[in-house]
C-alpha cells in the first residue's frame, strides 16, 4: 500500500510547480495553464484524503472542481483573446499600462 502522505506530497509538489509557473512564465496563456495545474493538485489532495478516510465527499468535491475549471477556462480564454486583440501580445511583462 502506498501511504497517503505520498499522494499528498505529489499533490503539494504539483501545486507548487503550478505556482512557480504562475509566478515566472511570461506567456499569459501558459500562466493560465499553470493555474489549471494548481486546481488539479487540489483535486488530487481531495481524492487522496477521500481514499484515506473512505469517504466520497472528496470525489464530489473533485467533480465540482472540474466543472469550475471548465467555467474558468471559458471566461479566461475569452479574456486572453480580448487582451491579444487589444495589444497583439500575451507577454505578461507588457500588460502593465496601469500601475503606481
Amino acid at each position: 500500500m502506498v501511504p497517503t502522505s505520498n499522494y499528498l506530497l505529489l499533490a503539494a509538489a504539483l501545486f507548487c510547480m503550478g505556482m512557480l509557473g504562475v509566478l515566472v512564465r511570461r506567456n499569459a496563456l501558459v500562466v493560465f495553464m499553470c493555474v489549471e495545474l494548481m486546481l488539479n493538485a487540489s483535486n488530487l489532495t481531495f481524492l487522496a484524503f477521500a481514499r484515506h478516510r473512505g469517504d466520497m465527499t472528496g470525489h464530489i468535491s473533485a467533480f465540482f472542481v472540474i466543472a469550475v475549471a471548465a467555467a474558468e477556462a471559458a471566461i479566461g480564454l475569452a479574456i486572453v483573446i480580448a487582451v491579444f486583440r487589444s495589444r497583439g501580445t500575451l507577454n505578461v511583462d507588457d500588460i502593465r499600462t496601469m500601475r503606481h
Binding site: 501511504p3 505529489l10 510547480m17 505556482m19
Partner: protein, 169 residues
C-alpha cells in the same frame, strides 16, 4: 513491492516530469501538450485512489475538452512563436520562485504529518466506492444546492465568455 506501488511511482514521476515540461518549455503548444500528459498521469493516480469516475471525467473534461479549448486558442491567436530567449529576471520572478520552492518545503512538512495508509474497506463498500452510481446518487440528492450553483456558474461563464469575446461594443 506490488503493482500499486510501482504504478504510483511511475505515474508520480511522469506527472512531475510533464508538469516540469509545462513550466520549462518555450513554446505554448508544448506546454499545452505537456499539460495534457500531466492530466493523463494524474488520472492514473486517481484510479489508484479508487476514484474511477473522477479519473474518467478528468480525461474527458480536462484532457478532452478544456485542453482542446486551449489548443484552439493557441492556434487562433497563432501563438507559434516561442517566448523570448532571455526572460527578464525581475524581483517578482526571483521572489516568486523562492516563494514557490519554500512553500513546497513547508507544505511537505505539513502533509508528512498525515500518518497511515488508507482505510481498509469491506468488499461491498469497496465495490461501490468511487463508482458513477455512488457519485450520482449523492450528487443529485444531498449535494443538490452546489449542483444547481454549478449550473448557474456554467451559464454565467457562457454569457461572460460571449460578452468578452464578442466584437467591439
Amino acid at each position: 513491492m506490488n503493482a500499486e506501488v510501482v504504478l504510483f511511482y511511475a505515474f508520480a514521476v511522469l506527472a512531475l516530469l510533464s508538469a516540469g515540461m509545462v513550466i520549462a518549455s518555450r513554446s505554448p503548444i508544448n506546454s499545452a501538450l505537456s499539460l495534457v500528459a500531466t492530466f493523463f498521469f494524474l488520472a492514473g493516480t486517481y484510479v489508484l485512489l479508487l476514484a474511477h469516475t473522477i479519473a474518467v471525467l478528468q480525461v474527458l473534461v480536462y484532457a478532452g475538452a478544456i485542453m482542446v479549448l486551449f489548443l484552439f486558442v493557441i492556434m487562433l491567436l497563432n501563438l507559434t512563436e516561442t517566448e523570448g530567449e532571455r526572460a527578464k529576471v525581475t524581483f517578482g520572478r526571483v521572489a516568486g520562485a523562492l516563494a514557490a520552492v519554500s512553500l513546497f518545503a513547508l507544505l511537505a512538512l505539513v502533509v508528512m504529518g498525515v500518518k497511515g495508509a488508507p482505510t481498509a474497506m469491506a468488499t461491498a463498500e469497496l465495490a461501490r466506492f468511487g463508482t458513477l452510481a455512488a457519485l450520482g446518487q449523492t450528487l443529485y440528492t444531498e449535494w443538490l444546492l452546489p449542483f444547481e450553483a454549478v449550473s448557474l456558474l456554467l451559464l454565467v461563464a457562457i454569457v461572460g465568455a460571449v460578452v468578452v469575446a464578442k466584437a467591439r461594443i
